[in-house]
């Protein structure tokens, strides 16, 4: 038995991480994940006005800032309700929030596909193409975030979700422009990513139909399949979704067994030798993200892949790219059904609670994001943020290894393990908020 330790700096992942691999007899036995600088957003928030969180928390993360905004506004609204103030959003406000959030997820997924997965996979298997994948990522993310900005003013770092609704007051002029940008995004997805119509794509139910997918996604699936990637990267086969969204309701799925969840059972704890806090649900570790949402929503093609390949790298990657199609369809429908006659914000300007505690949950691109705020005399006395990367990237407990670590264990090379690591789409900045 020969033990070897290898340290590797992982970059281009929303910041950096350092991985310490321990090899035993040529196989990875354990991995320690270390993140960079603790920025202290939760501390920065203390003493500020409750609503300032809507401006501060998006600055946790340059890529999922919008999810932080929505989580923070939901936390305040939850707190107001607990304090007895009626906060009832119009359907218009709810739908606009879901729309802008979906746009951000698409932006994030597509960057991950083109700037992480395709180039890293090609490098890993030694078949680097000369293609400029990043230009595709940039085109689609610029198009879909422009659609988001019609309602939210800008991306990144909008604060347009206000307590009781949204700050915008869109007209048909806005909606038509946004629809046009969504259509452009769908067109790109059809012609470049999947090589078929969105409608046909969404009707795919079984892995026997996967060969119908063309475009860059088809190429990716071929490369994964022909390089034995369908079996590696398996983890605990446990999935959890805390936020209700148009993609899925909240629930957990152990294997394929669905059951309810309650955010009160989420426990955060400090870990040794890293500034990233670990998180667990009733003493067990769960994966969060697109794969979990696909499993909980019982999306047929995700279930079909899972039946064959379990929670392998193949299933995980598939579920995330697949969700782009699901989200584009959601975006289209949300805009089509938007009722502009409803009010944007239903809470009067100066109506506010001064003492409250609230929880806000949102499905961000990497998984469930939870904000908890505690406010006294109008000021934040405590703020907690639990990010998706904390679920997927924790070191684990005494009983079991962390989700990503378990997926890397057994790997024979640092290169392969690093690729597995990247399939979780690590967000270093969120983890070190």
């Amino acid at each position: 038995m020969k033990k070897i330790a290898i340290k590797q700096l992982i970059e281009k992942i929303e910041g950096e991480a350092e991985l310490d691999f321990t090899f035993n007899d040529g196989e990875i036995e354990d991995v320690k994940i270390n993140f960079g600088f603790y920025r202290g957003i939760e501390e920065i928030l203390r003493g500020k006005d409750a609503r300032d969180a809507l401006v501060i928390t998006p600055r946790v993360c340059g890529i999922c800032n919008h999810a932080h905004l929505i989580a923070s506004v939901r936390a305040i609204e939850d707190g107001y309700r607990q304090a007895g103030i009626k906060v009832e959003l119009s359907n218009k406000a709810k739908d606009i929030r879901e729309f802008t959030l979906a746009c951000e997820l698409i932006q994030n997924h597509i960057k991950w596909l083109y700037m992480t997965i395709l180039p890293q996979l090609e490098s890993h298997i030694g078949q680097r193409s000369e293609e400029n994948y990043a230009i595709k990522a940039s085109y689609l993310s610029a198009t879909i975030t422009k659609s988001l900005a019609i309602f939210a003013g800008q991306w990144p770092h909008s604060s347009y979700a206000v307590v009781g609704g949204v700050s915008c007051d869109p007209t048909h002029l806005d909606v038509i422009q946004a629809q046009s940008l969504v259509e452009e995004s769908i067109r790109f997805f059809e012609q470049v990513v999947i090589g078929m119509s969105l409608e046909e794509y969404l009707a795919i139910k079984s892995i026997t139909q996967l060969s119908e997918i063309r475009g860059d996604f088809g190429k990716l699936l071929y490369l994964l399949g022909s390089n034995d990637m369908a079996t590696i990267g398996k983890s605990h086969d446990r999935f959890i979704v805390f936020g209700d969204s148009p993609i899925s309701a909240s629930a957990k799925s152990i294997g394929t067994q669905l059951s309810k969840v309650d955010v009160r059972y989420v426990k955060e704890s400090m870990q040794e030798n890293t500034i990233a806090k670990a998180v667990e649900y009733k003493k067990r570790l769960y994966e969060v993200g697109s794969l979990s949402r696909g499993m909980v929503a019982k999306r047929p093609i995700v279930k079909s892949l899972h039946k064959r390949y379990k929670d392998s790298l193949m299933t995980r990657i598939f579920a995330r790219v697949d969700e782009v199609g699901v989200l584009l369809n959601i975006c289209k429908n949300l805009l089509k059904n938007l009722n502009l006659n409803e009010p944007s914000c239903t809470l009067p300007l100066n109506k506010m609670a001064l003492h409250f505690e609230g929880v806000g949950i949102v499905e961000a691109s990497r998984g469930s994001l939870i904000h908890k705020t505690k406010v006294e005399e109008g000021k934040i006395v405590n703020y907690e943020i639990i990010t998706p990367t904390q679920w997927n990237l924790s070191h684990g407990t005494k009983e079991e290894q962390g989700v990503a670590i378990k997926a890397m264990v057994g790997s024979k090379s640092v290169e392969e393990a690093t690729f597995v690591f990247r399939t979780f789409d690590v967000c270093s900045v969120c983890t070190t908020q």
């Binding site: 700096l9 600088f37 920025r39 340059g62």
Partner: protein, 295 residues
């Protein structure tokens, strides 16, 4: 002629400036003017480990994130040391975003230790003198992609960028974010927005909008080529300013019912005189829904 060599380094950051720039519709045409030595996300000639190992060429250094002298290591090396090593080599240093320029949001974690690269809020840091001749400040949380491309292309074209006392390009920061706001008429006639979620009314009087005294061209060069905070009814939070973020961001601070802070360069007396005049009229068009008038 060889292209200028571009190096993008991050310190204490959220990556928001990186992602904002990735949204630029002509991103790759702009980058074609440069040789990309290293970038936090885009494929580049060298890895971060290579950058940290040192010795790479660098003509234009873009800095993102707040600066700390000690205590932030990447691959075992102080980030500040890596930054200074390339800052010495560079012919131009661009501080991209409010964090790198003034300290920004992350300064609030440890105000005594964390600052911008050359400015600590508006005070000059120990590094200022050494790098002042090549420094361009592009504040904003995040940076506007077209502000950065303007500066990059000016440099690529060999043109001098005119700057103000805090090294901000005057063509970008000579404006206030208020200029070009679609709510300008409501500001002129002192009509406040009655709530959030309305296209009518100015956000300066109740909702905390800082646009009249915040420098930047957000309402001239629109965000995502389409909109801005104030156009969608969100107050300006002054994110380009050295003092960002302040507190109580959704409430206007007032003295005797008058906004405590005046529009940039406007004497209080002038403002009060004008307010007295405008408030003595009731203009029908501004007292009803915008799209209902003349229907």
């Amino acid at each position: 002629m060889s292209k200028p060599k571009l190096l993008w380094l991050q310190s204490i950051s959220c990556n928001g400036n990186t992602h904002s720039f990735l949204n630029h519709p002509e991103l790759f045409s702009i980058l074609a003017h440069f040789e990309l030595i290293h970038h936090p996300l885009l494929e580049s000639d060298y890895s971060l480990q290579d950058v940290i190992n040192g010795g790479l060429p660098c003509d234009i250094l873009i800095l993102e994130g707040s600066f700390i002298e000690e205590g932030f290591l990447k691959a075992g090396v102080e980030v500040s040391a890596t930054i200074e090593r390339y800052a010495k080599k560079a012919t131009h240093i661009i501080t991209a975003g409010t964090c790198a320029t003034f300290g920004g949001i992350f300064k609030q974690k440890e105000p005594d230790k964390i600052s911008g690269f050359a400015f600590d809020i508006e005070e000059k840091t120990v590094r200022y003198e050494a790098y002042a001749s090549k420094l361009i400040s592009l504040s904003g949380c995040p940076i506007h992609p077209r502000w950065l491309s303007f500066v990059l292309l000016m440099i690529a074209n060999g043109k001098k960028v005119e700057i103000d006392r805090l090294h901000r390009p005057v063509e970008l920061y000579g404006y206030t974010t208020h200029m070009g706001c679609t709510r300008n008429e409501y500001f002129e006639w002192k009509i406040d927005a009655k709530n959030f979620g309305l296209k009518e009314g100015c956000l300066f009087y109740e909702q905390g909008c800082q646009a009249p005294y915040t420098r930047g061209s957000c309402n001239k060069i629109l965000w995502n080529d389409t909109s801005s905070k104030t156009r969608v009814g969100t107050p300006c939070f002054g994110c380009t300013e050295s003092t960002f973020p302040q507190t109580s961001l959704f409430t206007t601070k007032t003295n005797m019912g008058i906004p405590a802070k005046m529009p940039l360069g406007v004497p209080r007396r002038a403002y009060l005189t004008l307010t007295g005049v405008t408030k003595s009229f009731k203009i029908k068009r501004f007292s009803e829904r915008l799209l209902e008038y003349d229907k």
